[in-house]
Point group: C2
Chain length 265, copies 2
Amino acid sequence: MLRRDLENATGAAVRQAVRQGQWTRTTHGVANGYVQANLAIVPEKYAFDFLRFCQRNPKPCPIIDVTDPGDPEARLAAPGSDLRTDLPGYRVYRDGRLVEEVRSIEPLWRPDHVGFLLGCSLSFDQVMTDAGIPLRHLAEEEGRVSVYVSGIRCRPAGMFDGPMVVSMRPIPRPMLVRTIEVTSRYPMAHGGPVHVGDPAQIGIADPTRVDWGRWNPPAADEVPVFWACGITPQAVAMAAGIPEMITHSAGHMLVTDIRLGTTFQ
Amino acid sequence: MLRRDLENATGAAVRQAVRQGQWTRTTHGVANGYVQANLAIVPEKYAFDFLRFCQRNPKPCPIIDVTDPGDPEARLAAPGSDLRTDLPGYRVYRDGRLVEEVRSIEPLWRPDHVGFLLGCSLSFDQVMTDAGIPLRHLAEEEGRVSVYVSGIRCRPAGMFDGPMVVSMRPIPRPMLVRTIEVTSRYPMAHGGPVHVGDPAQIGIADPTRVDWGRWNPPAADEVPVFWACGITPQAVAMAAGIPEMITHSAGHMLVTDIRLGTTFQ
Protein backbone atom coordinates (compact mmCIF):
# COMPACT_ATOMS: atom_id res chain seq x y z
CA MET A 1 0.00 0.00 0.00
CA LEU A 2 1.34 3.42 -0.94
CA ARG A 3 0.89 6.63 1.01
CA ARG A 4 -1.09 8.09 -1.87
CA ASP A 5 -3.58 5.20 -1.67
CA LEU A 6 -4.59 6.52 1.75
CA GLU A 7 -4.31 10.20 0.94
CA ASN A 8 -8.07 10.61 0.48
CA ALA A 9 -9.17 7.74 2.71
CA THR A 10 -11.38 8.29 5.74
CA GLY A 11 -9.98 8.10 9.25
CA ALA A 12 -11.84 4.80 9.77
CA ALA A 13 -10.33 3.32 6.59
CA VAL A 14 -6.81 4.24 7.69
CA ARG A 15 -7.39 2.72 11.12
CA GLN A 16 -8.59 -0.49 9.50
CA ALA A 17 -5.54 -0.63 7.22
CA VAL A 18 -3.33 -0.17 10.27
CA ARG A 19 -5.18 -2.80 12.30
CA GLN A 20 -4.84 -5.33 9.49
CA GLY A 21 -1.14 -4.67 9.15
CA GLN A 22 -1.49 -3.08 5.72
CA TRP A 23 -0.10 0.27 6.86
CA THR A 24 2.85 0.36 9.27
CA ARG A 25 4.43 3.71 8.48
CA THR A 26 3.92 7.30 9.68
CA THR A 27 0.54 8.94 9.15
CA HIS A 28 1.53 12.25 7.62
CA GLY A 29 -0.24 12.80 4.33
CA VAL A 30 -2.92 10.15 4.93
CA ALA A 31 -6.65 10.80 5.39
CA ASN A 32 -6.36 14.42 4.42
CA GLY A 33 -8.91 16.57 6.21
CA TYR A 34 -9.12 14.30 9.26
CA VAL A 35 -7.72 15.25 12.64
CA GLN A 36 -4.80 13.10 13.78
CA ALA A 37 -3.97 12.65 17.44
CA ASN A 38 -1.12 11.98 19.81
CA LEU A 39 -1.74 9.07 22.16
CA ALA A 40 -0.75 8.91 25.81
CA ILE A 41 -1.86 5.97 27.94
CA VAL A 42 -1.39 6.25 31.70
CA PRO A 43 -2.55 4.14 34.65
CA GLU A 44 -5.82 5.35 36.17
CA LYS A 45 -3.95 6.33 39.33
CA TYR A 46 -2.33 9.20 37.42
CA ALA A 47 -5.17 9.96 35.03
CA PHE A 48 -6.99 12.69 36.97
CA ASP A 49 -3.77 14.64 37.52
CA PHE A 50 -2.82 14.17 33.88
CA LEU A 51 -6.26 15.29 32.66
CA ARG A 52 -6.09 18.41 34.82
CA PHE A 53 -2.61 19.08 33.44
CA CYS A 54 -3.95 18.87 29.89
CA GLN A 55 -7.02 20.95 30.69
CA ARG A 56 -4.83 23.71 32.18
CA ASN A 57 -2.39 23.69 29.27
CA PRO A 58 -4.63 23.54 26.21
CA LYS A 59 -2.03 24.79 23.75
CA PRO A 60 0.48 21.96 24.23
CA CYS A 61 -2.23 19.45 25.25
CA PRO A 62 -5.47 20.00 23.32
CA ILE A 63 -7.81 17.27 24.58
CA ILE A 64 -9.55 15.40 21.79
CA ASP A 65 -10.76 12.37 23.71
CA VAL A 66 -10.18 10.57 27.02
CA THR A 67 -11.25 6.95 27.38
CA ASP A 68 -12.90 5.29 30.33
CA PRO A 69 -10.42 3.19 32.35
CA GLY A 70 -9.92 -0.15 30.59
CA ASP A 71 -11.88 0.87 27.49
CA PRO A 72 -9.61 0.79 24.41
CA GLU A 73 -12.16 2.58 22.19
CA ALA A 74 -12.01 6.33 21.60
CA ARG A 75 -15.80 6.63 21.49
CA LEU A 76 -15.96 10.34 20.85
CA ALA A 77 -13.23 10.88 18.30
CA ALA A 78 -13.12 7.50 16.57
CA PRO A 79 -16.12 5.23 17.19
CA GLY A 80 -15.18 1.61 16.59
CA SER A 81 -11.49 2.29 17.10
CA ASP A 82 -9.15 0.15 19.16
CA LEU A 83 -6.31 2.12 20.68
CA ARG A 84 -4.33 -1.13 21.15
CA THR A 85 -4.03 -1.86 17.44
CA ASP A 86 -5.04 1.17 15.37
CA LEU A 87 -1.82 3.14 15.54
CA PRO A 88 1.06 2.01 13.31
CA GLY A 89 3.57 2.19 16.15
CA TYR A 90 3.78 2.50 19.93
CA ARG A 91 6.43 3.38 22.46
CA VAL A 92 6.42 1.89 25.93
CA TYR A 93 8.08 3.87 28.69
CA ARG A 94 8.78 2.57 32.18
CA ASP A 95 10.19 4.78 34.93
CA GLY A 96 10.80 7.53 32.40
CA ARG A 97 12.79 5.34 29.98
CA LEU A 98 11.85 3.95 26.57
CA VAL A 99 11.84 0.18 26.97
CA GLU A 100 10.31 -0.98 23.70
CA GLU A 101 8.76 0.11 20.43
CA VAL A 102 5.93 -2.17 19.23
CA ARG A 103 3.23 -2.52 16.56
CA SER A 104 0.44 -3.53 18.94
CA ILE A 105 -0.13 -3.10 22.64
CA GLU A 106 -2.80 -5.79 22.98
CA PRO A 107 -0.57 -7.91 25.26
CA LEU A 108 0.16 -4.89 27.46
CA TRP A 109 -3.35 -3.49 27.87
CA ARG A 110 -4.79 -3.49 31.39
CA PRO A 111 -8.17 -2.61 32.95
CA ASP A 112 -6.62 0.44 34.63
CA HIS A 113 -5.27 1.96 31.43
CA VAL A 114 -6.69 5.32 30.37
CA GLY A 115 -6.06 6.62 26.85
CA PHE A 116 -5.64 10.31 26.11
CA LEU A 117 -5.89 11.59 22.56
CA LEU A 118 -4.31 15.00 22.18
CA GLY A 119 -4.20 17.26 19.14
CA CYS A 120 -1.06 17.08 17.04
CA SER A 121 0.72 19.25 14.57
CA LEU A 122 0.22 17.03 11.54
CA SER A 123 -3.33 18.40 11.26
CA PHE A 124 -1.92 21.79 11.93
CA ASP A 125 0.65 21.79 9.14
CA GLN A 126 -2.10 20.88 6.72
CA VAL A 127 -4.21 23.83 7.78
CA MET A 128 -1.31 26.18 7.13
CA THR A 129 -0.45 24.60 3.81
CA ASP A 130 -4.10 24.89 2.72
CA ALA A 131 -3.95 28.59 3.60
CA GLY A 132 -0.96 29.06 1.29
CA ILE A 133 1.65 29.37 4.04
CA PRO A 134 4.87 27.70 2.89
CA LEU A 135 6.32 25.23 5.40
CA ARG A 136 9.84 24.35 4.51
CA HIS A 137 10.10 21.18 6.59
CA LEU A 138 7.28 19.57 4.58
CA ALA A 139 9.51 19.57 1.50
CA GLU A 140 11.55 16.71 2.96
CA GLU A 141 10.10 13.20 3.31
CA GLU A 142 10.76 13.12 7.04
CA GLY A 143 9.04 16.45 7.63
CA ARG A 144 10.95 17.38 10.76
CA VAL A 145 10.41 20.73 12.46
CA SER A 146 12.76 22.24 15.05
CA VAL A 147 11.69 21.30 18.55
CA TYR A 148 12.95 22.75 21.83
CA VAL A 149 12.38 22.55 25.54
CA SER A 150 11.48 26.19 26.22
CA GLY A 151 11.70 28.24 29.38
CA ILE A 152 7.91 28.66 29.45
CA ARG A 153 6.58 26.84 32.50
CA CYS A 154 3.35 24.89 32.08
CA ARG A 155 0.62 25.29 34.66
CA PRO A 156 1.24 22.35 37.03
CA ALA A 157 -1.27 19.72 38.14
CA GLY A 158 -0.44 17.19 40.83
CA MET A 159 2.83 15.44 39.95
CA PHE A 160 2.95 17.00 36.50
CA ASP A 161 5.03 20.15 36.41
CA GLY A 162 7.56 21.17 33.80
CA PRO A 163 8.51 23.33 30.85
CA MET A 164 6.57 23.64 27.59
CA VAL A 165 8.10 21.96 24.56
CA VAL A 166 7.74 24.15 21.47
CA SER A 167 8.14 23.65 17.75
CA MET A 168 9.56 26.37 15.51
CA ARG A 169 8.63 27.03 11.91
CA PRO A 170 10.26 29.83 9.90
CA ILE A 171 7.45 31.95 8.42
CA PRO A 172 7.87 34.63 5.72
CA ARG A 173 7.24 38.03 7.35
CA PRO A 174 4.40 39.01 5.00
CA MET A 175 2.62 35.77 6.01
CA LEU A 176 2.91 36.30 9.76
CA VAL A 177 -0.53 37.77 10.42
CA ARG A 178 -2.22 35.18 8.24
CA THR A 179 -0.32 32.42 10.01
CA ILE A 180 -1.52 33.60 13.41
CA GLU A 181 -5.09 34.08 12.17
CA VAL A 182 -5.28 30.65 10.60
CA THR A 183 -3.68 28.64 13.39
CA SER A 184 -5.71 30.44 16.08
CA ARG A 185 -8.82 28.93 14.54
CA TYR A 186 -7.62 25.40 15.34
CA PRO A 187 -7.34 25.10 19.11
CA MET A 188 -7.56 21.31 18.72
CA ALA A 189 -4.22 21.42 16.90
CA HIS A 190 -2.21 23.67 19.28
CA GLY A 191 -3.94 26.93 18.17
CA GLY A 192 -2.05 30.20 17.71
CA PRO A 193 1.69 30.51 18.40
CA VAL A 194 3.10 30.99 21.90
CA HIS A 195 5.94 33.23 20.70
CA VAL A 196 7.12 35.13 17.64
CA GLY A 197 10.73 36.22 17.15
CA ASP A 198 13.78 36.04 19.40
CA PRO A 199 14.17 32.49 20.78
CA ALA A 200 16.14 33.79 23.78
CA GLN A 201 12.97 35.46 25.10
CA ILE A 202 11.47 32.04 25.74
CA GLY A 203 14.64 30.55 27.14
CA ILE A 204 16.14 29.06 23.99
CA ALA A 205 19.75 30.23 24.13
CA ASP A 206 21.01 28.52 20.99
CA PRO A 207 18.33 27.66 18.42
CA THR A 208 20.80 25.71 16.28
CA ARG A 209 20.84 23.06 19.02
CA VAL A 210 17.43 21.40 18.77
CA ASP A 211 16.12 18.97 21.40
CA TRP A 212 14.16 17.00 18.77
CA GLY A 213 13.79 17.24 14.98
CA ARG A 214 16.25 19.29 12.94
CA TRP A 215 17.42 22.87 12.77
CA ASN A 216 15.59 24.77 10.03
CA PRO A 217 17.26 28.20 10.01
CA PRO A 218 14.97 31.15 9.20
CA ALA A 219 16.01 33.02 6.03
CA ALA A 220 16.52 36.79 5.99
CA ASP A 221 12.87 37.50 5.17
CA GLU A 222 11.55 34.95 7.65
CA VAL A 223 10.72 35.14 11.33
CA PRO A 224 10.88 32.19 13.73
CA VAL A 225 7.40 31.34 15.02
CA PHE A 226 6.97 29.02 17.98
CA TRP A 227 3.97 26.83 18.76
CA ALA A 228 3.24 24.66 21.77
CA CYS A 229 4.19 21.08 20.92
CA GLY A 230 2.45 17.81 21.68
CA ILE A 231 5.66 16.33 23.05
CA THR A 232 5.11 18.48 26.15
CA PRO A 233 2.83 16.15 28.14
CA GLN A 234 5.10 13.14 27.50
CA ALA A 235 8.21 15.09 28.45
CA VAL A 236 6.57 16.39 31.62
CA ALA A 237 5.25 12.94 32.56
CA MET A 238 8.70 11.37 32.06
CA ALA A 239 10.39 14.08 34.09
CA ALA A 240 7.81 13.54 36.84
CA GLY A 241 8.90 9.91 36.99
CA ILE A 242 5.61 8.33 35.95
CA PRO A 243 6.17 4.55 36.33
CA GLU A 244 4.43 3.66 33.05
CA MET A 245 3.31 5.48 29.94
CA ILE A 246 2.53 4.21 26.45
CA THR A 247 2.53 6.64 23.54
CA HIS A 248 2.42 6.63 19.74
CA SER A 249 5.77 6.28 17.99
CA ALA A 250 6.98 9.56 16.47
CA GLY A 251 4.73 10.40 13.52
CA HIS A 252 2.61 7.24 13.95
CA MET A 253 -0.65 8.84 15.04
CA LEU A 254 -4.23 7.78 15.56
CA VAL A 255 -6.32 9.09 12.66
CA THR A 256 -9.72 10.11 14.02
CA ASP A 257 -13.14 10.52 12.40
CA ILE A 258 -13.13 14.23 13.19
CA ARG A 259 -12.92 16.61 10.26
CA LEU A 260 -10.47 19.47 10.57
CA GLY A 261 -12.21 22.64 11.62
CA THR A 262 -15.08 20.98 13.42
CA THR A 263 -15.55 20.66 17.15
CA PHE A 264 -17.37 18.09 19.28
CA GLN A 265 -19.92 20.56 20.43
CA MET B 1 -24.23 47.86 48.78
CA LEU B 2 -26.42 48.12 45.70
CA ARG B 3 -26.21 45.96 42.60
CA ARG B 4 -25.27 49.01 40.55
CA ASP B 5 -22.25 49.63 42.83
CA LEU B 6 -20.81 46.37 41.54
CA GLU B 7 -22.00 46.69 37.97
CA ASN B 8 -18.61 47.85 36.69
CA ALA B 9 -16.48 46.22 39.39
CA THR B 10 -13.81 43.65 38.56
CA GLY B 11 -14.34 39.98 39.27
CA ALA B 12 -11.79 40.20 42.11
CA ALA B 13 -13.62 43.16 43.68
CA VAL B 14 -16.93 41.28 43.64
CA ARG B 15 -15.30 38.22 45.21
CA GLN B 16 -13.86 40.39 47.97
CA ALA B 17 -17.24 42.02 48.62
CA VAL B 18 -18.79 38.56 48.86
CA ARG B 19 -16.03 37.23 51.14
CA GLN B 20 -16.46 40.20 53.50
CA GLY B 21 -20.20 39.70 53.65
CA GLN B 22 -20.94 42.94 51.81
CA TRP B 23 -22.68 41.16 48.95
CA THR B 24 -24.99 38.23 49.67
CA ARG B 25 -27.36 38.30 46.70
CA THR B 26 -27.35 36.85 43.19
CA THR B 27 -24.56 37.85 40.83
CA HIS B 28 -26.52 38.78 37.71
CA GLY B 29 -25.66 42.28 36.56
CA VAL B 30 -22.44 42.54 38.59
CA ALA B 31 -18.90 42.76 37.16
CA ASN B 32 -20.14 43.24 33.62
CA GLY B 33 -17.75 41.77 31.08
CA TYR B 34 -16.42 39.11 33.45
CA VAL B 35 -17.21 35.43 33.05
CA GLN B 36 -19.31 33.96 35.86
CA ALA B 37 -19.18 30.29 36.72
CA ASN B 38 -21.25 27.48 38.16
CA LEU B 39 -19.55 25.65 41.00
CA ALA B 40 -19.65 21.91 41.63
CA ILE B 41 -17.51 20.38 44.37
CA VAL B 42 -17.19 16.60 44.44
CA PRO B 43 -15.00 14.20 46.43
CA GLU B 44 -11.78 13.25 44.62
CA LYS B 45 -13.07 9.69 44.28
CA TYR B 46 -15.62 10.90 41.73
CA ALA B 47 -13.59 13.71 40.20
CA PHE B 48 -11.98 11.90 37.28
CA ASP B 49 -15.32 10.49 36.12
CA PHE B 50 -16.93 13.90 36.56
CA LEU B 51 -14.16 15.65 34.63
CA ARG B 52 -14.47 13.16 31.77
CA PHE B 53 -18.23 13.74 31.80
CA CYS B 54 -17.71 17.49 31.47
CA GLN B 55 -15.02 17.09 28.83
CA ARG B 56 -17.34 14.89 26.73
CA ASN B 57 -20.31 17.24 27.10
CA PRO B 58 -18.82 20.68 26.55
CA LYS B 59 -22.10 22.41 25.74
CA PRO B 60 -23.81 21.76 29.09
CA CYS B 61 -20.50 21.58 31.00
CA PRO B 62 -17.94 24.06 29.62
CA ILE B 63 -14.88 23.60 31.83
CA ILE B 64 -13.46 26.89 33.09
CA ASP B 65 -11.26 25.59 35.89
CA VAL B 66 -10.71 22.46 37.98
CA THR B 67 -8.88 22.72 41.30
CA ASP B 68 -6.32 20.38 42.74
CA PRO B 69 -7.80 18.14 45.46
CA GLY B 70 -7.99 20.11 48.70
CA ASP B 71 -7.02 23.42 47.08
CA PRO B 72 -9.85 25.96 47.46
CA GLU B 73 -8.28 28.44 45.00
CA ALA B 74 -9.31 28.57 41.35
CA ARG B 75 -5.78 29.40 40.22
CA LEU B 76 -6.52 29.65 36.52
CA ALA B 77 -9.81 31.53 36.45
CA ALA B 78 -9.61 33.55 39.65
CA PRO B 79 -6.14 33.81 41.22
CA GLY B 80 -6.42 34.61 44.93
CA SER B 81 -9.98 33.30 45.10
CA ASP B 82 -11.32 31.04 47.83
CA LEU B 83 -14.11 28.78 46.65
CA ARG B 84 -15.22 28.27 50.27
CA THR B 85 -16.17 31.92 50.82
CA ASP B 86 -16.29 33.79 47.52
CA LEU B 87 -19.73 32.75 46.32
CA PRO B 88 -22.72 34.46 47.92
CA GLY B 89 -24.53 31.18 48.48
CA TYR B 90 -23.96 27.42 48.47
CA ARG B 91 -26.11 24.33 48.37
CA VAL B 92 -25.02 21.12 50.04
CA TYR B 93 -26.41 17.88 48.66
CA ARG B 94 -26.02 14.47 50.29
CA ASP B 95 -27.19 11.28 48.63
CA GLY B 96 -28.89 13.31 45.93
CA ARG B 97 -30.89 15.50 48.35
CA LEU B 98 -30.46 19.16 49.27
CA VAL B 99 -29.60 19.20 52.97
CA GLU B 100 -28.64 22.81 53.54
CA GLU B 101 -28.10 26.19 51.94
CA VAL B 102 -25.21 28.18 53.45
CA ARG B 103 -23.15 31.36 53.02
CA SER B 104 -19.77 29.73 53.53
CA ILE B 105 -18.50 26.19 53.23
CA GLU B 106 -15.33 26.69 55.28
CA PRO B 107 -16.53 24.26 57.98
CA LEU B 108 -17.35 21.64 55.35
CA TRP B 109 -14.19 21.79 53.21
CA ARG B 110 -12.03 18.66 53.13
CA PRO B 111 -8.64 17.73 51.63
CA ASP B 112 -10.37 15.45 49.11
CA HIS B 113 -12.67 18.12 47.74
CA VAL B 114 -12.24 19.07 44.07
CA GLY B 115 -13.87 22.22 42.73
CA PHE B 116 -15.19 22.45 39.19
CA LEU B 117 -16.00 25.82 37.66
CA LEU B 118 -18.29 25.47 34.67
CA GLY B 119 -19.52 28.16 32.29
CA CYS B 120 -22.95 29.60 33.03
CA SER B 121 -25.65 31.40 31.15
CA LEU B 122 -25.38 34.71 33.01
CA SER B 123 -22.35 35.55 30.86
CA PHE B 124 -24.23 34.23 27.92
CA ASP B 125 -27.30 36.42 28.31
CA GLN B 126 -25.02 39.43 28.43
CA VAL B 127 -23.36 38.50 25.16
CA MET B 128 -26.75 38.29 23.46
CA THR B 129 -27.99 41.52 24.98
CA ASP B 130 -24.81 43.29 23.81
CA ALA B 131 -25.52 41.97 20.30
CA GLY B 132 -28.97 43.56 20.36
CA ILE B 133 -30.90 40.32 20.81
CA PRO B 134 -33.90 40.99 23.07
CA LEU B 135 -34.22 38.52 25.97
CA ARG B 136 -37.63 38.78 27.53
CA HIS B 137 -36.74 37.07 30.79
CA LEU B 138 -34.19 39.76 31.62
CA ALA B 139 -37.01 42.31 31.90
CA GLU B 140 -38.04 40.79 35.25
CA GLU B 141 -35.87 41.15 38.37
CA GLU B 142 -35.62 37.38 38.82
CA GLY B 143 -34.55 36.80 35.24
CA ARG B 144 -35.86 33.26 34.96
CA VAL B 145 -35.66 31.33 31.68
CA SER B 146 -37.64 28.17 30.92
CA VAL B 147 -35.63 25.08 31.84
CA TYR B 148 -36.41 21.48 30.93
CA VAL B 149 -34.99 18.00 31.24
CA SER B 150 -34.72 17.11 27.54
CA GLY B 151 -34.65 13.76 25.80
CA ILE B 152 -31.09 14.41 24.56
CA ARG B 153 -28.76 11.94 26.22
CA CYS B 154 -25.40 13.22 27.38
CA ARG B 155 -22.29 11.21 26.56
CA PRO B 156 -21.78 9.11 29.71
CA ALA B 157 -18.59 8.83 31.77
CA GLY B 158 -18.28 6.32 34.59
CA MET B 159 -21.23 6.69 36.96
CA PHE B 160 -22.42 9.87 35.25
CA ASP B 161 -25.08 9.17 32.64
CA GLY B 162 -28.27 11.10 32.04
CA PRO B 163 -30.27 13.54 29.97
CA MET B 164 -29.21 17.05 29.03
CA VAL B 165 -31.01 19.89 30.79
CA VAL B 166 -31.80 22.73 28.37
CA SER B 167 -32.90 26.32 28.71
CA MET B 168 -35.31 27.91 26.24
CA ARG B 169 -35.36 31.52 25.14
CA PRO B 170 -37.93 32.83 22.65
CA ILE B 171 -36.00 34.61 19.86
CA PRO B 172 -37.55 36.84 17.17
CA ARG B 173 -37.27 34.99 13.85
CA PRO B 174 -35.28 37.75 12.10
CA MET B 175 -32.70 37.49 14.92
CA LEU B 176 -32.25 33.72 14.72
CA VAL B 177 -29.12 33.62 12.58
CA ARG B 178 -27.46 36.37 14.56
CA THR B 179 -28.33 34.58 17.79
CA ILE B 180 -26.66 31.38 16.61
CA GLU B 181 -23.63 33.25 15.27
CA VAL B 182 -23.10 35.21 18.46
CA THR B 183 -23.60 32.39 20.95
CA SER B 184 -21.44 29.99 18.94
CA ARG B 185 -18.50 32.29 19.62
CA TYR B 186 -18.75 31.66 23.37
CA PRO B 187 -18.13 27.97 23.96
CA MET B 188 -17.24 28.80 27.58
CA ALA B 189 -20.87 29.90 28.10
CA HIS B 190 -22.69 26.93 26.51
CA GLY B 191 -21.96 27.97 22.89
CA GLY B 192 -24.52 27.67 20.10
CA PRO B 193 -27.99 26.23 20.65
CA VAL B 194 -28.65 22.49 20.73
CA HIS B 195 -32.08 22.81 19.11
CA VAL B 196 -34.29 25.34 17.32
CA GLY B 197 -38.06 24.96 17.00
CA ASP B 198 -40.43 22.16 18.01
CA PRO B 199 -39.76 21.15 21.64
CA ALA B 200 -41.24 17.69 21.01
CA GLN B 201 -38.26 16.87 18.77
CA ILE B 202 -35.99 16.91 21.81
CA GLY B 203 -38.40 15.07 24.05
CA ILE B 204 -40.23 18.01 25.63
CA ALA B 205 -43.87 17.01 25.30
CA ASP B 206 -45.43 20.00 27.04
CA PRO B 207 -43.29 23.14 27.12
CA THR B 208 -45.73 24.94 29.41
CA ARG B 209 -44.60 22.55 32.18
CA VAL B 210 -41.07 23.68 33.04
CA ASP B 211 -38.76 21.67 35.28
CA TRP B 212 -37.08 24.84 36.58
CA GLY B 213 -37.62 28.58 36.00
CA ARG B 214 -40.82 29.83 34.43
CA TRP B 215 -42.69 29.36 31.18
CA ASN B 216 -41.96 32.18 28.76
CA PRO B 217 -44.25 31.49 25.79
CA PRO B 218 -42.84 32.40 22.36
CA ALA B 219 -44.90 35.08 20.57
CA ALA B 220 -46.18 34.58 17.00
CA ASP B 221 -43.02 36.04 15.45
CA GLU B 222 -40.68 34.17 17.81
CA VAL B 223 -39.11 30.74 17.68
CA PRO B 224 -38.14 28.71 20.75
CA VAL B 225 -34.35 28.26 20.89
CA PHE B 226 -32.83 25.72 23.25
CA TRP B 227 -29.35 25.81 24.77
CA ALA B 228 -27.55 23.29 26.91
CA CYS B 229 -27.92 24.31 30.55
CA GLY B 230 -25.41 24.29 33.40
CA ILE B 231 -27.88 22.48 35.64
CA THR B 232 -27.10 19.33 33.62
CA PRO B 233 -24.01 18.12 35.51
CA GLN B 234 -25.69 18.61 38.89
CA ALA B 235 -28.86 16.85 37.75
CA VAL B 236 -26.86 13.96 36.33
CA ALA B 237 -24.69 13.69 39.46
CA MET B 238 -27.76 13.66 41.71
CA ALA B 239 -29.48 11.03 39.59
CA ALA B 240 -26.30 8.93 39.71
CA GLY B 241 -26.57 8.97 43.51
CA ILE B 242 -23.34 10.83 44.25
CA PRO B 243 -23.01 10.75 48.07
CA GLU B 244 -21.91 14.39 48.32
CA MET B 245 -21.91 17.45 46.11
CA ILE B 246 -21.67 21.13 46.95
CA THR B 247 -22.81 23.71 44.40
CA HIS B 248 -23.55 27.43 44.15
CA SER B 249 -27.06 28.49 45.12
CA ALA B 250 -29.20 29.36 42.10
CA GLY B 251 -27.89 32.60 40.59
CA HIS B 252 -25.14 32.97 43.23
CA MET B 253 -22.11 32.38 41.01
CA LEU B 254 -18.36 32.72 41.28
CA VAL B 255 -17.28 35.81 39.36
CA THR B 256 -13.94 35.06 37.70
CA ASP B 257 -11.12 37.28 36.43
CA ILE B 258 -11.70 36.10 32.88
CA ARG B 259 -13.05 38.65 30.42
CA LEU B 260 -15.90 37.53 28.19
CA GLY B 261 -14.65 36.51 24.79
CA THR B 262 -11.16 35.51 25.89
CA THR B 263 -9.82 32.00 26.32
CA PHE B 264 -7.09 30.59 28.57
CA GLN B 265 -4.90 29.70 25.69
